[in-house]
């Protein structure tokens, strides 16, 4: 109980909640200016998400890659790096899962599926590890290399699909026999594409927490992230930690790719542009204050808003793009915490006064 009190007493939890409320308010104001009814819009949004088992399952599907990429960005951030390349790492993870699933199609499923998942995580990790290596050995800023690697990943993935996995006459790969789908839930969710990736994402969040805060390695990574000079002074190998942290970050993103290919689509498309999971992941990581629990909650919110926005246009005739304004303002308020604190100030003041009395 005491612990619970402590959690709610710190304003690090209050600020994001207030920021979310303020984000919704800003969205409402914009809707009013545009001549829409915000209450109808928001209720349509939530109705869409919770209205039917199918939609709820699909909303969960929407959240899953965001959990992974959010964790990826947050993990790198905790180790002092800005991984803008989660997008490319997702693509590499997808491609690895496709290659393993399709090329080893004869393998029994209880072996094939784990193999494909592991390959996705491993390749995503190595892809990010390249940026880590370049930073550690050559001092190249990871922001630049990860952006460059995003494009390389996009064209490399398309090349591999086009030349080795193509379904004749289509712009996609042949079907992937490895499946992460939770088919036993089909009746419950009315055939929504729910898959094991969601459970895997929750495990990843748990791993994130335990690894970073309970292990020796995690201690090193946090020290390197917060103060590389002190880490070096204390005898830690800064470069090695940078590579390791990027590897783990990339592995999270790679698993997102596995979830999409093996759990949702069961094939891989040739992408005209990058799917954007990685960039949403940055927003999710910021929204979740780069804490694993926060990231999961943020991904749930982000996924709900994104999925529900379709319902807004359907049910209330509000353009779904408006939800981007809500998401944008929430992130803005979280980044500009000063504004939130300013809004909260009168409440704090009141509380203090009461204490004095």
């Amino acid at each position: 109980m005491h612990r619970l009190k402590k959690i709610f007493a710190t304003d690090s939890y209050i600020v994001p909640i207030v920021a979310i409320i303020m984000g919704f308010l800003v969205g409402a104001v914009v809707m009013l200016i545009g001549g829409y009814d915000p209450i109808a819009a928001y209720s349509a949004l939530f109705k869409r998400v919770f209205g039917s088992p199918y939609d709820f399952g699909e909303a969960v599907r929407e959240m899953t890659p965001l959990m992974f990429t959010g964790l990826a960005v947050a993990f790198a951030f905790r180790s002092g790096m800005f991984n803008i390349g989660a997008d490319g790492q997702v693509l590499i993870g997808m491609t690895a899962a496709s290659v393993v699933g399709i090329k080893l199609a004869g393998t029994p499923s209880f072996l094939l599926v784990p193999l494909a998942v592991i390959a996705a995580g491993l390749c995503g990790g190595i892809w990010a590890g390249i940026a880590g290596y370049l930073k550690a050995k050559r001092g190249i800023n990871e922001v630049i290399t990860t952006i460059m690697l995003n494009w390389i990943a996009l064209y490399l993935s398309n090349y591999i699909v086009k030349h080795f996995l193509l379904l004749k006459g289509q712009n996609r790969s042949v079907d992937n026999p490895a499946s992460l789908s939770m088919t036993f839930l089909n009746s419950l969710f009315d055939n929504a594409r729910v898959h094991w990736g969601t459970a895997l994402a929750l495990c990843a969040a748990l791993f994130f927490y335990v690894f970073l805060w309970k292990t020796k390695q995690g201690y090193e990574m946090r020290a390197v992230g917060l103060n590389p000079h002190a880490a070096e002074y204390a005898g830690m190998n800064v470069g090695r930690n940078v590579v390791k942290a990027m590897f783990i970050s990339g592995a999270f993103a790679g698993l997102a790719g596995a979830g999409e290919v093996l759990g949702v689509f069961h094939y891989q498309s040739i992408f005209a542009a990058s799917p954007g999971y990685g960039f949403d992941g940055i927003a999710v990581a910021l929204l979740g204050l780069t804490h694993p629990l926060g990231v999961i909650l943020a991904a749930i919110l982000y996924g709900m808003l994104t999925y529900g926005s379709a319902g807004m246009s359907f049910g209330a005739d509000v353009p779904p793009e408006l939800i981007r304004i809500v998401i944008g303002s929430i992130i803005f308020f979280i980044a500009a915490q000063g504004i939130v604190r300013w809004v909260l100030k009168p409440f704090y003041f009141k509380r203090k006064k009461e204490k004095v009395l």
Binding site: T215, L226, N227, A230, Y233, G235
Partner: protein, 512 residues
């Protein structure tokens, strides 16, 4: 002093920050032509007060009067307009610019559209002559000494018409000779009708130069006294709030075998400039070797070389007979070398780690803190609890971030951690920098206690008093070389100062 209104009068200035009252109803008067020292520990509120005078902060309560007229100083430009100038501790100069360019920056005399450097240089030369500053108007900043750079800072304020000068810890970076010269300049300034507020915690300087002293403790004025009517002990007591002994008590050193030996060590920096030029010295068990020198003569590089943070090009460094040159910091740490780093924020602590986490910064990977890859948080916490008790580190709890501790307590935490490693060699780089009298006393006692236990202690400090009081032997470093070794009882500030400036080689005899 005349009956005229004081040049500056602060009335009941109060400034609150979340959680603390930085200035609590502070009143202070600065008379025309006086040097008024502001004395206080770190965090006592000196800087806050001066930032209010210079317009960087607004007081929550109280008022400021200049020449008897109430004023509101809401930004530094207003302060300059009112004739207030600040000589910052960290100089704000553009290195590749000349002295004149730096002084007129922002207030350039113009001739049409062009800046009239000729008349600017002439003005600078005149100012320099008037106050005996001897600055060459056309020299580039990076070619002149630190002392000269400080004079450029002084001239910047004078050029802007300052009558009230605030000096913030002006002697921290100067050699003894430069300090003497600065004192003369300050005397000259007041003789020319300027008034000076001197922020410092060096009692010696206050006694030498100030007319009056105001002592601040925890945001409150404790007393304002005439310097002539007081003495350093009384001032220190008022500042810290208890008795302070300046004499460092120590028994004669029981010198044992050689622990650290540096032989002909050479090292170049990134630009290929030689920073260590054949360095030779040794530190024996049971003694404190003090390295005296002006900042930037290879002290930092010397420590980096011993602790594995810098590669050396040639020579040998041995600890207890084993070669450690170019080993990794961890390997060296494991050979029982402890290091209290020069910059506690950059190297000594992870400021956003808890106190508890910081206490195992170098030992987290060892048993009992680490068991098969997992950290034993309860053992780590217990260890931290023990250390903060033993070394009197004041923190609300071990869960607080190191950032929230005061400078003195941060340093105590580092010292606790380093001494707890039970080193054979303890390297203390500027261990008392920025600390107040009470904390300095604590740190120095710890160093001597280590020596008495038979540890070898290497002390690097820019404070001559510290070197003289604490060391058993002194080596003077100049341009990456040891230019002389002396015993503290056989030397004096003057001789050391000359050696530090490179004008006297191989200690012992004066007259170079």
């Amino acid at each position: 002093m005349s009956a005229a209104a004081p040049v500056v009068e602060l009335k009941q200035i109060t400034k609150r920050f979340p959680g603390i009252v930085a200035n609590d109803a502070i009143s202070l008067t600065l008379e025309k032509g006086e040097i008024h020292a502001l004395l206080g520990e770190n965090g006592a509120g000196k800087s806050t007060l001066m930032n209010i005078v210079f317009g960087l902060y607004q007081p929550d309560e109280g008022s400021i009067e200049i020449d008897g007229k109430p004023v509101i100083i809401d930004n530094p430009n207003k302060a300059i307009e009112l004739g207030i100038g600040m000589v910052h501790q960290h100089f704000k100069l553009v290195d590749p610019f000349t002295v004149t360019e730096n002084i007129v920056l922002g207030m350039e005399p113009k001739k049409g559209l062009k800046i009239d450097y000729k008349s600017a240089a002439e003005q600078v030369r005149k100012l320099s002559e008037q106050y005996g500053l001897q600055v060459n108007p056309n020299a580039k900043i990076h070619d002149i000494s630190v002392g000269m750079q400080q004079r450029v800072e002084i001239m910047k304020t004078l050029y802007r018409g300052a009558d009230i000068l605030i000096f913030d810890e002006p002697t921290a970076v100067l050699t003894p000779q430069e300090i003497t010269e600065l004192m003369a300049i300050m005397k000259r300034l007041v003789a020319e009708g300027k008034s000076i507020i001197l922020i410092t915690h060096k009692l010696k300087e206050i006694m030498q130069i100030s007319d009056r002293v105001t002592i601040i403790r925890r945001g409150k004025v404790i007393d304002t006294v005439k310097t002539a009517n007081t003495n350093p002990n009384e001032l220190a007591e008022k500042m810290v709030g208890r008795d302070v002994t300046f004499k460092v008590d120590k028994r004669p050193a029981q010198v044992g075998t050689s622990v650290l030996k540096m032989t002909n060590v050479h090292s170049k920096n990134k630009d290929g400039v030689s920073v260590l030029n054949g360095l030779n010295f040794e530190v024996k068990a049971g003694e404190i070797l003090g390295i005296a020198g002006v900042d930037g003569n290879g002290q930092s590089e010397l420590i980096q070389a011993i602790t594995g943070l810098r590669k050396i090009d040639s020579g040998s460094i041995t600890v207890s007979g084993k070669e450690i040159a170019n080993l990794s910091p961890r390997k060296i740490s494991e050979m029982n070398v402890s290091h209290i780093p020069e910059d506690r924020h950059k190297h000594g602590l992870v400021l956003d780690f808890t106190v508890s986490e910081n206490m195992v910064l170098e030992t987290y990977y060892k048993s009992p803190y680490n068991q098969s890859g997992f950290l034993k948080q309860d053992v780590i916490d217990k260890h931290a609890e023990d250390l903060i008790k033993q070394f009197d580190v004041r923190t609300p709890s071990i869960e607080n971030k190191a950032r929230s501790l005061s400078g003195g307590n941060q340093q105590k935490a580092i010292i606790a951690r380093e001494i707890d490693k039970n080193p054979t060699l303890l390297i203390a780089a500027q261990p008392t920098r920025g600390l107040d009298v009470g904390a300095i006393e604590f740190v120095q006692k710890q160093l001597i206690a280590q020596r008495d236990q038979g540890k070898a202690v290497l002390l690097i400090s820019f404070e001559l008093d510290e070197i003289m009081n604490v060391s058993d032997r002194i080596a003077v470093i100049y341009e990456g070389q040891i230019v002389g070794e002396v015993f503290p009882q056989d030397t004096n500030d003057q001789e050391l100062g000359l050696m530090m400036a490179g004008s006297l080689k191989q200690g012992g005899k004066a007259g170079a």
